[in-house]
């Protein structure tokens, strides 16, 4: 599973992109966040403000309950501020 981080999530994790193999018990966005958050102090910091974290699965905005599967591209980022 390919994970991308943008904006301050990239700064806090210290990485823009990583490939991970979470256990089978990780089935949705919320589960993936819980698993990623304990991977390093940087990850913990990035996911600490859960309400400020948004996600996309395969380049579509996703909700906490949306499924994730091996091979997916999952991105985490703050609420968007373009325009």
């Amino acid at each position: 599973m390919r994970i991308l981080y943008f904006a301050w999530l990239r700064q806090k994790t210290g990485i823009a992109e990583e490939t991970v193999s979470p256990p089978e018990t990780v089935r949705d966005v919320a589960g993936l966040i819980a698993w990623l958050a304990v991977q390093s102090p940087g990850h913990a910091d990035a996911f600490a403000q859960a309400r400020q974290v948004r996600a996309a699965v395969n380049q579509e905005f996703a909700r906490p309950g949306d499924p994730v599967a091996p091979g997916d591209e999952v991105a985490f980022f703050p609420p968007v501020t373009g325009g």
């Binding site: 996309a56 703050p78 609420p79 501020t81 373009g82 325009g83």
Partner: protein, 153 residues
Amino acid sequence: MEPRIRVQEEPFDAAAEMAALSEGRTDVGGLASFIGLCRADDGLAALVLEHYPGMTERAIGRIVAEAVERWPLTGCTVIHRVGRIRPGEGIVLVLAASAHRAAALESCGFLIDWLKTRAPFWKREEFADGDDRWVEARDTDDAAAARWDAPRP
């Protein structure tokens, strides 16, 4: 109608883009434009815009497709800059052309409202003293976008 969608670091030429939507045709009765500019609030030296390559183009394409579905447009252009943008420079250009003004004006408003809330861009502010901070999303932008949620009459 082939919309023009670009994500680029370079500044855009609004006059040239507007001309491109009306030149050589006689069916365009109204051309609405919105240009988002970089302000120098609180000693801001530059805005740095980050985006999600791939998803950005897809998201803008979907927003434009929604506008085309809702209004009879003869032309539509969205150019969003990324990278470092200085005060006074343009950040985003939205153009909507139609036979009549209501469709052009309304769709232009819709496009920028949804661009601000549904396209994966993030702004970081850099200040003259070396400080920097990420811009936070505003509830007023969500409210502006939400007014287009209701089904149209």
